[in-house]
Amino acid sequence: MNQMEIAIPKTSAVMKALLKADYTTLWRNRRAVILVILVPMIIVFSWKGFVRIAGGAFVLSNAITLGLVAIGLMGYTNSIARDRDKGVFQRLRVTPLPLWAIMASRLLVQLSVIMILTLVVFISGYQFDHISMPLAGYVVTLLTSIIGGAVYLALGQAIVGRIQNAETVNSTSRLIYFAFIMVGIFGEAISVAEPEMKWLGSIVTWTPYGTVKDILAGSLELSKWTSHTTQALLLTIGYTIVFATLGIKWFKWSTK
């Protein structure tokens, strides 16, 4: 059959359209975004006492990490599961756009939320706890928060890839979010407050929570960046690669 003349849209134009739609969606869901950011703010506010014991970087890094967990597991995962369940992706897939563009747009929007979260934590830390870090620390932490956020976005991708049902995805991601809160708030806090519980801290430190928290703390105080922080960074990247590989391998665009 002879080929007819068919024009396909430019990828840049397609990405622009997807981003516009995804940012509009984010704006209309701003209450959910505020709730996601609220938890780290509560941490910053309520952990005032820890600033003296463990330092400002400890408090800020924990607050950001918990926010990153919420963005990856609650925001991204559930929005993907919902749209897949409703057939939104199938509708997009029959248009002439590269498939990667659909996910790239979603991820870029989440990266923006990560940046907003990190900035809000910096500001609240300064306002509530008078935590002040070197400017370089703030700048580097904005970048490492993206690396840290990638772990939880990848983990969310793995969850939504493995589980097809949107409600099961929702409950599973909540459960894992709760587990990370437990590890983060209690594991970290107990190991700092109780010297005989230090062993708990050494377990927590190599979990995805611990590695992300450590690289964030190391970024905030670059002078305290050690070989341990470098190992945490490498492990964070490793976790991201594993979760993302599984998430891409398992992911199906439709639940049918």
């Binding site: 396909i8 134009a13 739609a21 997009l92 029959v94």
Partner: protein
Amino acid sequence: MDTQLTNILQVDDLNVFYDSFQAVKDVSFHVKQGEIFGLLGPNGAGKTSTLSAVEGLIKQQSGTVTVAGYDTLKHPLHAKAAMGVQLQATSFQPELNVSEILELYASLYGLDLTREKLQKLLKEINLAEAENKRFGQLSGGQQQRVSLAITTIHDPKLVLLDEPTSGLDPQSRRRLWSRIDAIREKGHGVVLTTHSMEEAEAVCDRISIIDHGRIIETDTPQALIDKHRDDLAVIAVSRRGKVTLEDVFIALTGLDIRG
């Protein structure tokens, strides 16, 4: 005229599997420019699987699908740009309103939908008042009109409609038939799946009856009736002495209720 040019869709020896289950078996058919082609079959017969392979939603294990001359596996973006698709169950981002959805899909086909064009389009589909409503707030008929407007927004060479009239009232159904006729009059090809024999007879130029993943018959509705009019199985299921397309369909696919 070159017949190769007139075929807007060419499906050859298509085979689709879901794990070990074969949903589509050696299916071949073509759709000409300016033709409405119906794909009829009971539930689970392979209609949607066949369409999904054409749309690029699932990958066939063997066989070729060519849209406007583009192999859907080798040139998926060109093939998709030549198609307009209305899925059986479709949805749009629930946070977006009608205007935003239309703008998004126009952009995805590389079109610049100006405010004037948008207003004109909304007027055409009788949704000028609902432009700021979210898709989920629209009635079934309104949702269907938005969906069809998006399907045809880029004036595609081939339009694929998967059970487009299910759940619509008779008025909306008649209006949709007129819109499908208008697409044909532009010289574009249309493939539709339906459970309604009345619809197939009223709208389709040719139909294929598919069952258990295989095409059993392909012809014009009237030719199929004439061909099977005297079959004992058709006479046995016919009512009031008049043989209809539905009688032929039931005789060919059986009386058993499927999934």
